[in-house]
Point group: D2
């Protein structure tokens, strides 16, 4: 680490998929980004000692805890990073904020806006830096689209559309609840594809295209009962397996959003497209460095959809990595998020999305679930 | 022409884009398909003599008329082919049916289901062969998907989605009304993208995936006033510039449909995708011979989306054309439609979509327009 | 037909795949192109009466002959169109020229340059219009690339590469000789993939990038013996199953050419790419309307490979067809060839490639076969 | 680090692009792979103290040296990792081997086979683990192709083709020599695209498809003189700017290889394709997770080129990373190389490519350069 860097001691809560992604980011960031801070993996907490010890060994955490409250009480921890199921975000985040810790939580902020609101109040009252890990914003191609739209490349916007398609729950034998499949359990997750996947689409959409003013939605649960992973009992499924949404944005453009875990052949097919009067951009997570770009100002017969391979030195974040043509991966979207968070600390300018920003995403998700039930348009 | 073939004398009404497409099909069909019938371009009718004469010369029509009623009265005409704006379909079709002529009309059947119903009644009462030119069904790749879905390749269906995106009316100086731009005039067209473009998507969707039971829609008119091409006066725009629809199909699957003429960079981007438990198919008009196919039964690590180039001898219609790898064009979708119509005549089994089939598409379009106004779900 | 048009009476020799493609073009051209000429399918000749009669019926030829010499003697035939195996091109073409007929022959001009040279002499001595059907030039996307390169869009050229990959002869049970598989018989075809497929690549390459000054080649015959389709006897295979070529163009650029019938999965994969200092173009026959275009002059971060869908009114030939986004097929490349031939007649400016142009392609093919045997570079 | 792991102390020589890539891999490997070893970034050596200190700070190297010999003398260093220009590989590697250190060198092994042979002798005599960083083998998609070919999925091979296209030296103002552009200086690099880029293609090709028995090549230097980055003087350019090669493999298949830095629009376009009797595989570095796969055994009309997104748990290396659909980047190819190297240490089975394996690649490169000059086929 560079001599001039401050250390930032991380207290991680959880050891699952997201804890790995975040730990990777904290470990890697200072190799490529000079933010003024050097994160240190100080401690990790989870209930089962054996599990958390293995995780700590792999990542080099200096110590483990079996109660997250210990992290909050610990004077040597600067920031609490929450990587546990959605139903636990609020309690931990509020406690952390009250203890004066910086707080980062995996998305969504909470299961509902109602649950998330006190979290926002807590971090704002405490005045602590806070962020929600909507990492897809930080994929270089997505950031590039944001920058180009802001630079006026497409002019007035007419349409925004996004989808996040998966296929991993078609098999009705996939259980709900437990460690690996809590996302199918409405109590732990709050909702199904809406909070898990459409939330990502909304975060990106509102960042690029501004707020949503109204929506109507269709939701469906294809498999009505699943066994619970812990109890082994068949239980009704409370989540939305699929959702499709029509929206009107505040800027007058129309939006469509769709997500499902029943689209055979799609693994993590997050796609987005924005159409403006002068041009359009599109992107697909499966080919995450490629941006499709149509520029109507090009000389007529040479107009076409251009595939930009966002790996050049003048593309967002990419000047810090390799050479043109060479890619980064999913993991680096978190690294970029950390880099921006640390830079924000140094500049005293919080990196988005803050808890407040993410609360708005929760509000839209709530409206989707409500409209899915009522069949009515909802104003936001 | 083969000695054993019967002639079928065509009376064409109109000389525009669609009259060219249909004339091409009538001219070409017997070179490649042995249907038992040889179409003959007997006469063409339109109001302006000079225009219709030039058209007749290019296509070899034997004579011209300046009143379509002359075609209907003519004893040497077997079939009336209607290629004029939507508001004229009903009167001509009903008169033709009453005169005992076969009737083919460009899509949609009529401006509304209410207008279309007497057309269905007329052809059914007269017992005359009838067809609506929803030509996209007959693109080999689309027919192939239909056949494969019918053969059970994808099993239970969860999702169907389609879009038809264009960008040609973004410029507010494009007029409405007149010969070239009657599709922007609600009186002539009945609706905007709904009747023009979503109608195509619906025809294909209901053919492949069965009936639609309910829907909700969002419609928008981005440019509120346009000059009229004939009068030169600014007039309110009555059509829908864009529409997005959420549907439930009778088979329990969910559908999304979207169309717009404000999606910069898209010329005629008709895309569709269907997801079932065992597999998925997708297609894009811009690459009309390619079907994307995901087969979940493939050995795990080798699973992927396959791009089938639908140009082999065992693909629909393609055995009649060239050799594998070599394509046909948009025009040939009409040729296939004619081939099926003529084969249907011979076999006394009407080729779909008949007037009755197409009426159902009109009913769904009407519901889209109505829901776009009311914001409510509509049962069909 | 328009009153002002001259008729052009066609005498077709052959009734196979190419005779269908040419007949389609002659039939279709005047529906879409106003060239001043109206082709008439006057007569078709082939040895077996039953076969040729069926062909004549399907296409509307006015009469049949069982000896091609009858066509040449016939005073009512204006142009002889040669659609028979390569070994018969020379005799027919020379006789036709001597009789003062226009002559068009399917490619290649002849089996070798030595055989083709007297054909050039004959048509030039007779002063008759002549053309070889290298149809791929007339695919709108290919013509577009030619026009853009001529317009200086890519500047100095560094590289040209082309390939034509197929897989239909991997099965060693495919016979050689006979009607359907004469292309595998060296006596009828002259060579294998070189004359059949690389010849197309060379015609396009030299049209776009100028002459080839030297080359070295590798050729291979994977299946050494095949049954003869007529005699049923196993015979040595004399053709090249695969060929790969390194070339230097006269303009200093480097070229690579490859063709094979053993590339599993490729049906008719003719691909080409040209790289210049300011930009590059690429194309693939399987997606025949798409041109890939890279423009280095675009603002840095927005640079990418653009996919131009060559279907607009300002793209070559496309203004005569449908509307943007809607395609033509393989057959229309021949229609465009006919349109250019007829326009050339009217303007007294022969449409390329003439016999003389095509002789140059034969010369390069001869060098490939020779270098494949000697392993040495050959100067042209 | 897990308690049971051995440490492996790394001595890095160099601080440039490759030193970053390797340091990233050494840092990251034990977070995702349980190899039994924990690499420790012990020391880094380079001539200029300020440069090497900054590098050491960013990556956490424990100390720096300004003479690589110090690393070789240091008793606490286990492995020497060589990341300096090609002309320095031999001296350092031989010294390291003699000192009993493990040796890893960036590719190519040496400038020529003649220079590389004593390196092979040295590591083999010393009996030290050794490896050359041909990292592209370890991209999951490439490893997957290797595994599938070995498993017999494509049967007998007919064709192998590879290209590595770039465009960064078209500008004649790019200098040669110095720190950033030593790859254009023949004294430092040994050759141009052949040793830099075709070497990668050859390493993969021979790994998947076996040895090359003969070849002929065309090489070219488009820009004949460039300024030297250090001296500022114009000097003749000694490297090959472009090379194209025809090969015969020992298994009877044909190969083509091409590389250039003058293919406008290509950044790092390493592509490969292999065609066998039952199927084909293809890959492109720009979309590094996608494998194209054609399976001829698929039911006829459903055959197509499948795009496998190599991100599943049963794909090579990917079970250690995220979830299906989520990617890794270029950097992880080095991480996988390290993981295999460390696993090889534990199992006492050296990870390929060893110095001996890489010497063969140097031999083929030498033949390309020689044939480029002589124009003759060369047997290997």
């Amino acid at each position: 680490m560079a001599a001039k860097q401050k250390t930032l001691n991380i207290g991680m809560v959880g050891y699952g998929f997201m804890a790995r992604a975040h730990s990777h980011a904290w470990s890697e960031v200072s190799h490529f980004f000079d933010t003024g801070y050097q994160p240190v993996l100080k401690a990790v907490a989870a209930r089962t000692k054996a599990n958390v010890q293995g995780f700590a060994d792999a990542w080099g955490y200096e110590r483990i805890e079996t109660d997250w409250r210990k992290l909050i009480e610990a004077p040597d921890i600067d920031a609490i990073d929450i990587c546990v199921p959605n139903d636990l975000h609020a309690e931990i985040a509020i406690a952390a904020a009250r203890a004066g810790k910086m707080v980062l939580t995996e998305k969504p902020l909470a299961r509902t806006a109602k649950e998330g609101k006190p979290m926002v109040d807590a971090v704002e009252k405490a005045g602590v830096p806070n962020m929600v890990w909507y990492n897809y914003r930080r994929i270089p191609a997505v950031t590039f689209i944001k920058n180009m739209v802001d630079a006026g490349k497409i002019g007035k916007v007419f349409h925004y559309r996004a989808a996040f398609l998966q296929d991993w729950t078609i098999n009705p034998d996939v259980p709900q609840g437990g460690t690996a499949t809590w996302r199918l359990d409405v109590d732990a997750a709050g909702s199904g594809v809406t909070g898990d996947l459409i939330a990502h689409c909304l975060d990106t959409a509102m960042w690029i295209n501004g707020g949503i003013s109204s929506l109507t939605a269709m939701t469906e649960t294809f498999v009505k009962e699943r066994k619970h992973a812990v109890t082994g009992k068949m239980q009704p499924v409370g989540i939305d397996d699929a959702a499709a949404v029509l929206t009107r944005f505040a800027n007058g453009s129309l939006g469509t959003f769709e997500s499902t875990r029943y689209a055979r052949g799609h693994k993590a097919a997050y796609t987005l497209e924005i159409n403006g009067e002068h041009g359009s951009f599109a992107w697909d997570l499966h080919d995450l460095h490629r941006v499709s770009w149509f520029d109507h100002r090009v000389e007529g017969p040479l107009r076409g959809w251009s595939s930009i391979h966002v790996t050049d030195g003048d593309h967002p974040y990419m000047g810090k990595w390799w050479v043109p043509g060479l890619s980064v991966g999913y993991g680096e979207s978190f690294t970029h998020q950390v880099a921006d968070f640390l830079t924000g600390l140094k500049k005293k300018k919080p990196a988005a999305p803050t808890f407040r920003d993410a609360l708005e995403t929760n509000r839209v998700c709530d409206a989707i679930i409500a409209s899915g039930k009522s069949g009515k348009w909802i104003k936001l």
